[in-house]
Structure formats: C-alpha cells, structure tokens
C-alpha cells in the first residue's frame, strides 16, 4: 500500500498564520454578539458552575480560562457530519489539553481569522488538518514559553500533558490556566513541532458529539429555533410550476387576517446582478407574507390569491467565482415523461468525447462478447429534515444573519450586493443544521430573509414550509448512462465505453475506474438544459454513476464467469502495474485495499444458500469505499440483513462518529436507490411532502451494519460523501442474486414485481 507518512515534524506557522493572531485584533465583521439566544442556552448547569472568571484569548481558535478550561472555536458549518466535535479535536490534540476541559463554540463567519468556512465536498477535516493542529501547537508553544519565562528554565525542559505544564527537574507544575494570561501576551512562534501520528492521544479515539446532551434534551440549537425580541415570521409563496413566474397578486383579504403585518412581492436578486454559483434560484420573484406567528402566517399564505404566468426563456450572465458565462433557461412546462424520453434517446446518439484511449470502436467490432446496458435515475429533493429558514435583522447600520448555511462566506458577498451594504457590516452566524446534503450550499433563503427584514425594518425569521422546500428546486439532476463492455474469447475486458448525461448536468467522471484499467476506453457526455433547477446533492454525480457502474461491472463479471470482487481486483492490478493513460484520478492500490478488506471481513468466499450477496466499490471525494450487502428473503420480501463496509479515508479522527456517518451514508444510499424520486407534470412537482415523497424508514434499514476502516498514516480525506454512492450498486447486485432481476432504473421500488 502507498503510505504517505506524516514525516513533517517541525512546521512553519505560515499556513493560516492569521488564524493564530487574536480575534480581538482582527475581529472585522463583528465577532462578538451582544445577546445570542442560542448561546444563552448553550451550557449545561455543571459547565456554568465551572466557567472561569476570565478568558485569555491565545489565538482565533482558542481561549483559556484562569481555571484551565479551554474554549475551542469550531470554524466550519455543522450539518451532521460532526465537524463541531472532530475539528476541535485536532486543535486539542496539539494543545495537549484534557478533552474533558474543552468547551466548543461554533465560530461565526470571520474571513480574517478562518479559511474555507464551508461544508461541502467532504473537505472540512482534509483542509483543516494542518491549520487546526497548528493552532493548537502554537498555543501550546506559547504556554510553554510563558512557563519557561516564569520559572527561569529553558522551554525544552518543559512538558505539556493534559492541560498541565511540568518542569520535572525542579518539580514545578502549573495548569494551562495559570500561564494563560502571560501566554496571551507573547508573540506567535515562527515554527512549531507537530506530533507524530503514534503520539496522538485524542485523534483516533472516539469522542462523543459535543452537542449530544443538548440534542437529546431539546435545547435550541437550530436556525428554526432561533428567536429574538420583536421578531416577525415570514413565509414565501413561489410559483406552483417550473417555467412559471409571478404575474400579480391580490393581498387585500390576507392583510386583514389576524396577526398579518405585511404582504408584498420580492425579487431575491436584482435584474443587473450576475448570479453566483450558489445563488441558484428557480423563482426570483415571490410573494411574501409577514406576521406575528408561524400558524397565522401559514394560514394567510394558503389564502393569498396570486396569478402566475408562463415565464419566457432567458439567457442570464452568471459569475462562477470570476468566470463569467451565459446560462440558458428554456421556457415551457416540463414533464417527467418527456425527460425519460430524452434520457433514453440521448444514449443512442453520439455525444461529446471527453476521453479516449486506444481504439475502442475497432475493438468492439472484433469482440467475442459485448455487454450493453443503460441506467437512469430521477431528480431528487434534498429534504433536509429542518426546512430552509434564516433569521435576519437588517438595519441601516448593519445586518445580522443567523441560521443554517453551508456557504457563509460566499453568501456574504451575495447578500452584500443585494443589500448594497459593505461586507464589514454583515455578520453571519451559523447554527447547527438539521441536515445539509448540499442543499444549504445554495443560500437564496438567507438573501430573501435579509431583503424581507430590510423591507420590514424589523427582525424576521423566514421559514419554508415542507411543501415550499420540496417544490423549490435545487434538485439532484436526473441522469442516464449507457455502458458497453467488450470481452475477448478468454473473457478479458478489452474495451469499455461509457456515454452519460443528464438534465441539465452530466454525471460523468471520465478519469475514474475502470479508465486506466482497460486498453481501449471511450467516455462521452451530453446535457440538456431545463428550467428545473439543480444543485449539489451528497456526492454529486457519483451518487448515480457509482451505482450504475458497479451494477454494470457485476454483469460484466458474470458474463466473463468471474467472481465480482476478483474481477475488479484483476482490473485494479492492471491499473496499478501498467496503467492506461495518465490522468486516472484514483490510486489503484487503495481501491484494491478496500475490496480486499471487505472480502476478508465479510467472509466473501463462504457462500450461504439463503443469503444473497452483492458487492460494489467506489472512489470519490478522495476516499475509497467497498461494500458487501447481504439480502435474505422473508415471506417473499427482500430484507437487508447485513452490510459490510470497508473505508480508506486516511487517518480517522473520531472513529465512532466516523462509523456513524458511514452507517448513515449506507442507509441513505439504499433509501434513495430504492424509494425516492421527484417527478413532474406540466412543470409541477408531483411530490410536495413525505406522504408522496418516499424516504427510507426504520423497518427498511439494514438490520446490521459493520464498518471497517483501513488503518494507515495517510492524511485524513473526506467521509461525508464517499459511503453514500457505492451501496446503491451493492443493493442492486444483491437484489439480482435474491430475485433474479436486475434493476436499471431508480428508484428500484417502481419495478412492481420486486420485493413482495
């Protein structure tokens, strides 16, 4: 196995150095809040008793109380991936504090102090790995320096362990709290020593979710729970169909309803604004209802009379972080029936070739066997269980915005332009989020809340109902893919062809396996524009194509008369020893490593007549995952008895929490492959709540899940997304073994004869 060892020991503190300077020096956009309703409920009673009289700020990541308690700021948004626990663990590790003495606070957006405060792409731990550890290491170095000066001894004779500084020669000891005041006055060191992996005592050990006790006792934590005095409730009414827009409304009746303060039309973005990558919004103009309480506003919103009209096609300039492009939105009321025709017919037409190795066309012609299959999937709604919402208090002097957002920095720019207010006056606070899955990368609801508050000149909380949330767009695109494989007379894979596309995006990653493992390879893609808006959905693109590819490889292995795991390992061995092409974006040995591990842990070679097993493996978001999924038939019904999962995501920071995240990804993957879809009739989403949109439920989840991590010293990579995609293929393959039927179109449940 490739081992990218952590060889660095002494590290310059240049990376993220600004983070190591005190936030009070660089607080910029209002680090301190006068009164925060969430924070006021943040502490348990024992913690309140133990709170220090004074905090000494060592750097932007941490402050130490005179009693030794340490507060660590967690910089990135928490969407359930548990970074609010695991990121502070990285700081605490290098600080050498006792984890029991650590309090964690969610940092607000502060671009002066923190880099990449974003939850997306499974990148939080990977990108914070260096800077968070350095924040802890510099603070520890400053505490040691303070002790050295106080005691008149050299720094290299002082040890720090579990919050205690010790000079063993003289027998002197002091808690971090005792030295915190002095340390806070010192210069940040030029370089620090980071630990070797074998010296870790917090990283690699399971630590409980820092919000766990608040969650199980119902403390306010989420955007929807946020409240301020004098706060109004706002809701929007958006067009009922994609391809429509607001024409006029009659607000008279609704204005006289109890508790209603105002009804008006609002444009989320102004005409001259070039939408950014995360300003995604199907309905720029909506009706707004504002009132005193949620129920009153809900009643009024349902009674509001609005006329809609067909929206014309448009060509809008968009600004993707400086890259300007014109994006076409077609007119019309689209239906799933038409989408499905497109998905099928496009697969029969030549598309744009994005990678070609060798001469696949010629090799297919002389192949002994050709296997060809195609796969489709529907649009999906993210359906975070906490619907979209945001609090805004916009005055002429400043804007305070509080709520669930995965992209606070990007949205700060966007809302700054909309309010015509400099960023310095905008303060964005992140609440714990009731799910993200990519949906809260797109923060139009934050901008909408700000515009409504500006209009009302009062604090406002904007709430989307479930129906508003599910029918707003920002869906996972609808995709299709055609695969062809050529085998020679010895059942060797000699050519591979993939043609993929979607409405309106393609799911293809042309340089992924089996590219690199076969001499003759062709990858093509196509797209078709739509006025149904889409957005990143947990493991974008991979969330469809992994399952399709892994189902296809299962059929190819079967046609070749080979064991499905051995067939993949054979290809990966080729990719490792003699790779085809140069841009293959996976490491074949790590890919093979997870397959070998899951093969061993699941006792793959031990066949049981009543257990039907499917396997799959995939690489995405820098991590490798392989599954074996066992189905048993009970009264003719397929039941997932057990899932074995092997993961290589480098060093695992918090093993039990990582296991939980992987278990969730597996349940989520099975659920979406089996049950979920959003479909359209004349532009109208046919599902608008959980009575029609089916999500996986308790009794449909696997009975047992066993997660195994590859142990290595590779820097940690992503885990939020990678466990999600491949399980869809493992499920399809196990169903085939159980029922004899292959599933090509998600959700599989629409195949009526499936599962009893």
């Amino acid at each position: 196995m490739t081992q990218k060892k952590l060889t660095m020991k002494v590290a310059k503190t240049r990376i993220g150095r600004r983070s190591f300077i005190k936030s009070s020096v660089l607080s910029g956009g209002g680090m301190m809040l006068g009164f925060n309703w969430l924070m006021s409920c943040d502490m348990t009673s024992t913690q309140v008793k133990a709170l220090p009289k004074e905090w000494f700020e060592i750097n932007g990541f941490l402050k130490i109380g005179e009693n030794g308690l340490v507060t660590i700021m967690s910089p990135n948004p928490e969407i359930g991936q548990n970074v609010k626990t695991s990121m502070p663990m990285l700081v605490a590790e290098e600080l050498d504090v006792d984890w029991n003495d650590v309090l964690v606070e969610q940092a607000p957006l502060n671009t002066n102090l923190y880099k990449r405060q974003l939850a997306g792409g499974s990148q939080s731990i990977r990108q914070g790995w260096e800077s968070l550890r350095m924040a802890g290491a510099t603070a520890k170095a400053m505490l040691i320096q303070a002790a050295a000066e106080t005691w008149g001894v050299p720094t290299n004779e002082i040890q720090a362990e579990k919050g205690i500084l010790t000079h063993s020669i003289s027998g002197k000891k002091a808690g971090f709290g005792t030295m915190a005041a002095k340390a806070a006055q010192l210069e940040v060191p030029e370089e620090v020593t980071l630990k070797n992996t074998e010296d870790f005592s917090i990283i690699g050990t399971s630590r409980k979710n820092v919000d766990g006790s608040k969650i199980v006792t119902g403390k306010p934590l989420y955007g929807l729970d946020y409240k301020q005095d004098n706060m109004l409730i706002a809701m929007i009414v958006h067009p009922p169909a994609f391809g429509m827009r607001l024409k006029s409304m009659d607000e008279k009746e609704v204005l006289s309803m109890p508790g209603i303060k105002n009804v008006f039309k609002m444009k989320t973005h102004l005409e001259d604004y070039a939408l950014g990558a995360f300003d995604n919004d199907a309905f720029n103009e909506v009706a707004v209802v504002v009132g005193s309480s949620t129920w009153e506003v809900m009643q009024a919103k349902n009674r509001l009379k609005v006329d809609w009209e067909l929206a014309p096609a448009s060509l809008k300039e968009m600004d993707f972080f400086g890259r300007k492009m014109n994006v076409e939105t077609p007119a019309g009321l689209e239906s799933t029936e038409d989408h499905q025709k497109t998905l099928t017919t496009k697969l029969q037409q030549k598309a744009k070739v994005v990678r070609q190795d060798g001469n696949p066309d010629a090799v297919f012609k002389k192949a002994a066997k050709v296997i060809e299959r195609s796969y489709t999937c529907p649009f999906l709604a993210h359906n975070t269980l906490e619907p979209m919402n945001f609090f805004a208090d916009v005055t002429e002097e400043r804007a305070l915005l509080v709520g669930p957002i995965q992209t606070p920095e990007i949205m700060e720019s966007s809302v700054s332009k909309r309010l015509k207010m400099p960023k310095e006056k905008i303060d964005i606070q992140m609440t714990r989020m009731g799910g993200g899955f990519g949906r809260r990368l797109y923060g139009h609801f934050l901008t909408e809340a700000a515009v409504i508050s500006q209009e009302m000149q009062q604090p406002v909380k904007l709430i989307y109902t479930r129906e508003d949330d599910m029918t707003q767009g920002t869906y996972r695109p609808s995709y299709s893919v055609l695969y062809r494989a050529a085998l020679d007379e010895n059942n060797n894979l000699i050519a591979f062809h993939v043609r993929a596309g979607g409405i309106p995006e393609s799911p293809l990653s042309a340089n992924r396996f089996p590219a690199g493992a076969v001499d003759h390879y062709k990858a093509e893609e196509w797209t078709q524009a739509s006025n149904i808006t889409v957005g990143a959905f947990r493991a974008p693109r991979s969330n469809f194509i992994a399952g399709a590819e892994q189902s296809f490889l299962d059929e190819v292995a079967e046609a070749a008369g080979k064991d499905p795991i051995d067939f993949r390992l054979e290809l990966l061995e080729r990719a490792q020893k003699n790779p085809v092409g140069e841009n293959n974006d996976y490491e074949a040995d790590r890919y093979a490593g997870v397959l070998k591990l899951v093969k061993e842990k699941s006792n793959w070679n031990e066949k049981k007549s009543d257990v039907h097993r499917g396997t799959a493996a995939y690489f995405c978001h820098n991590s490798y995952v392989a599954n074996v999924l066992d189905i048993v038939l009970e009264n003719g019904k397929a039941v997932v008895e057990k899932v074995y999962c092997a993961i290589d995501c480098g060093i695992v920071v918090n093993p039990d929490a990582a296991t939980n995240l992987a278990e969730g990804g597996i349940v989520d993957g099975i659920g979406h492959a089996m049950y979920s879809a959003i479909t359209f009739k004349d532009g109208v989403p046919e599902q608008n709540n959980f009575d029609k949109y089916r999500l996986i439920r308790h009794d449909e989840a696997p009975r047992n899940i066993e997660i195994h991590f590859v142990e290595n010293d590779i820097h940690p990579t992503g885990l939020g997304e990678p466990p999600f995609p491949p399980i869809m293929g493992a499920m399809a393959n196990a169903l085939y073994r159980a029922t004899g039927k292959r599933h090509y179109n998600q959700p599989f449940i629409t195949d009526k004869d499936l599962i009893g």
């Binding site: 991936q81 199980v216 409240k227 129920w295 009643q299 619907p387 969730g664 696997p702």
Partner: protein, 151 residues
Amino acid sequence: MSTFTLNINGSQHEVHADPTTPLLWVLRDHLDLVGTKYGCGIAQCGACTVHLNGTAVRACQLPVASVGTSKITTIEGLSESGDHPVQKAWLAHDVPQCGYCQAGQIMSAAALLENNPNPSDEDIDAAMRGNLCRCGTYTRIKKAIKTAANS
C-alpha cells in the same frame, strides 16, 4: 383568539391563540419550547412527537383546542436533567448526526418502552416507522432502544 390552560411538563401554561393552532406551534412560538420540531406539518415525519397522557402523538396535527386537560410531555419535560433511560441510551450510542429528528425519535421510543418494556425488533419497527431520520441513524436508534429497555 381564545385562552387555553395547558398542562405541559407538569405545570399549567396559559396560552392565547387561535383554537385551530396546532400544539406544535403553541409549544414553539408561544411557550419557547423549541425541542419539538417542525418537519412536515402532516404527521408524516414524527419530528414533532410529544406525549399526550403518555401516548406518542404528532403535535403538528393536534389543534390546541382539542388538548383540554390532557397531560402533555415534551422532550424538555421527559426528565429533570436529561437522564431518562432513553436519553442516556442515546448518548451512550452517540446516536445523533444532524440531530434534528432525535427529539421526536426519543419521544416515540420512550412511549414505546412505557407500554412495552421489552420490545422485539418488529415492535420497534412498528412504533418507530413514523419517525424519519434523514441522516440514516436507524440502526443506532434500534440499538439504543434495546439498551434503554435493558437498563
């Protein structure tokens, strides 16, 4: 607008609200008891589960006028200091991911165990089927319920 006196978590609360207001919004907007969550508004997700005289009900479908003198228990009142066996089991298994559905899950599980101290897997599935977890913590929830049952 009418005035209602509600018995919530062992004490009386006077509330001035439209009689059709679901208990969910009375708890959240009028009484600042925000542990009970909004997820769907049509009793399909279970995030708003509370106990009505010990039975798990969906607060989003319970008009305040229909509550009368029934005893309501919310997640905030399930135990004095977060030490109900179900809460302790949830912490022991570190169940939550995003955590948003968990108050509802805990209330459904607590009601189940009150009536059926040793539930089978099928009993758990039947009692918990109405509670969605979008993060997929179902297998941990089942383990936690078994731990709570054995405590």
